[in-house]
Symmetry: C2
Subunit: 405 residues, 2 copies
């Protein structure tokens, strides 16, 4: 055997060995997006102006990649598959996009309405529901395929006796594989039970024009904010036969209200230590109420009109963001003393905050500074900053494991 | 250039291309365990007799693989890295094993003492601490490398004025990157702050012979059960200057006690809805206490001596397992009515239960039936069974994101 032939054989052997060793990997470039990794410390940051999302890692404080082509992401939110691999991004334009955080690609995308306002994933992870303004109603999709499973038009009898569709808001998941949402135009709260072979709707009369809602972390109390009247509508899902009750009847009332630049998000209420902390409407105050009888226990003065009022996972701190024009500041309240312990300046137009799951850090987006700042909750000092294009919402994969998020 | 030389060059190019394409993957065989997947729905089941663990998936109710060679796994427990990829398994023989759930291999393993009793991972995920019986004390390891970072001998002045090491128990993580543990022989509770450049220990006098402990889900109250006296020792970590206080002074007391086959696990206490549900000592009762003043509000009769008393994530149900000889039964209590709503028979020697993160299902291990049964919390009927070799503890990756687990 001549020498070149010998080398040929040896090289062929090496090449075959490499194919064997590399297996199916050989045809896929080993880019960072094929890397084996856990999904527990990942998250998405919405870049509203560019219709893109950043895939980030909270352990390394770094951006893993950008996924583009998600449409209009103003007021966008995200829920996660139960394995933490896929984020379902609800866009304002009715787009529902399934993002693969591991490959950093769009896994699937449907335009499911003309105008949507958020969504939820069922307790068992099988269904993704979207809340629509235009044409109204709720649509439910298979989380695996994004195929339409159910269309709930959310109809009611309108002004002239006609059957019309209502805008839906405040859509959340609840225990028992249920969805709960409010009908803005009809003034109702509906539950949708996805566990039965024939999913069943139950309707409850609520207050006038619910505009947003929250569910408590244990999935028991669903609370809707009202645009048309003072107070809030609450449904106890442990005792639905009691119907909707009114709580905090003075919420929203008051003389000499400040201009309300933004209706407070109800997802931005903090439930901590048997107390609810939430933004006063049109006032520079954070309110604290006892959750057993909803009596107001404190009014904490803050520097502007609060938007998000969020408790750290250990309930020790309450972080508050603000409405325009005082929205370049975040204030931190000690939940025990109920005093402000720090005023931070993360940048211009602070839009959202997200705590790491065990609360050692919090990520804060400043839209007009194109920046996300990570703070230590212990020192209240920044530990990292990341560049982002007009960042708004920040959503970590641990939401996959929480009720009502 | 001659032909063989040309071929040589081409083959070299192909070989180099393959190395380039396959990247570092080239030396690792592409088995199913190289599959890209989220880690949010994974978990480990301890197989105590065979020193192995099963890697399972809660979405598919299936076993992904078995990892062997973990030593003595009686009384073993698991904590997770913040990305959910690695489980740290604390064996009884002092072994600390880092298991990679994605590749299903032992990533690293150290024998760090003669006899250990559990451990914890710090809030920031950087440190893994292990609680030792033999020779006593606590050892802290780098979670990445398993290198020893700190050795806390946990010494005290013994009977004859000698400095001796104490067995340590009830080791948990707490907010502020702290560990908290109890000294069985010294009757003390220690906190270890890992956030400072020089980690600092604080000592607190506690009751006689703490044998186990828990921390409340918000990481505020550390509660140790006592072997040497009635009552429990509680440390409020928000107000450590107040020192350890005694709660439930009658806990453990009583005439005509039943034989205690097993001291109740304090990790098996349920904190739900501002109430603590926990096993009575030596009685066929689950006790319920208010958490603000620790007054006893109910004694719920059950069929045997309870061991684990666990609340579903929505706080709606309390699941109870039992000590020998009535340990082939699990009872489910409605937390609102505090009545038993179902008695289940998952198999012989039920050892552990673990809820899926949003609580739609619960996994129950029956050691002597070599079986794990998955129940729906809605129907209380089994939805799947899995074969396992003498299964004991079940630990899902969502523990990565909870304080004190």
């Amino acid at each position: 055997m001549d020498r070149p032939g010998h080398i040929f054989q040896r090289l062929l052997l090496i090449a075959l060995l490499m194919v064997g060793l590399a297996g199916c990997q050989v045809f896929t470039p080993a880019s960072p997006s094929q890397e084996l990794m856990g999904t527990g410390d990942l998250g998405l940051i919405i870049e509203r102006a560019t219709g893109s999302v950043l895939v980030i890692n909270t352990s390394g404080h770094n951006v893993l990649g950008r996924v583009e082509g998600l449409g209009d992401l103003s007021h966008a939110s995200v829920v996660y598959s139960r394995d933490g691999r896929y984020g379902y991004v609800f866009g304002r334009d009715g787009g529902l996009t399934k993002v693969d955080l591991l490959t950093r690609t769009v896994a699937d995308r449907v335009i499911q309405s003309g105008n949507s306002i958020g969504g939820a994933i069922s307790q068992d992870g099988r269904f993704v529901a979207v809340s629509n303004y235009e044409p109204g109603g709720v649509k439910v999709f298979d989380s695996e395929t994004l195929e339409l499973v159910m269309d709930i038009p959310a109809t009611y009898t309108g002004a002239e006796g006609k059957t019309v569709q209502s805008k839906t808001v405040g859509l959340v998941d609840a225990p028992g594989n249920r969805f709960v949402f409010s009908l803005f135009d009809a003034g109702e709260i509906w539950t949708l039970d996805m566990s039965a072979p024939e999913p069943a709707v139950r309707r409850f009369d609520a207050g006038d024009a619910p505009y947003d809602a929250l569910i408590t972390p244990d999935g028991r109390h669903y609370i809707a904010g009202l645009f048309g009247e003072d107070g809030l509508s609450m449904l106890d899902l442990w005792n639905p036969e009691q119907g909707v009750t009114e709580i905090l009847p003075d919420y929203g009332k008051g003389e000499q209200k400040l201009p309300v630049y933004k209706m407070p998000h109800l997802e931005g209420w903090a439930i901590a230590d048997g107390r609810a902390f939430f933004p006063a409407v049109g006032r520079h105050q954070v309110l604290a109420a006892k959750m057993d009888d909803w009596s107001l226990v404190d009014r904490i003065p803050v520097q502007g009109q609060p938007v998000f009022v969020m408790a750290s996972p250990d309930n020790r701190q309450i972080w508050v963001s603000f409405a325009h024009p005082k929205n370049d500041v975040v204030q931190v309240i000690d939940s025990q003393s109920r005093k402000i312990i720090r005023t931070l300046e993360p940048g211009e137009a602070v839009l959202h905050m997200e705590f790491t799951p065990r609360g050692e850090e919090v990520w804060v987006s400043a839209r007009d500074s194109n920046r996300v700042t990570v703070y230590s909750t212990r020192t209240l000092e920044p530990v990292a900053t990341l560049d982002a294009e007009k960042p708004s919402g920040i959503f970590f994969t641990t939401r996959a494991h929480a009720l009502g998020l």
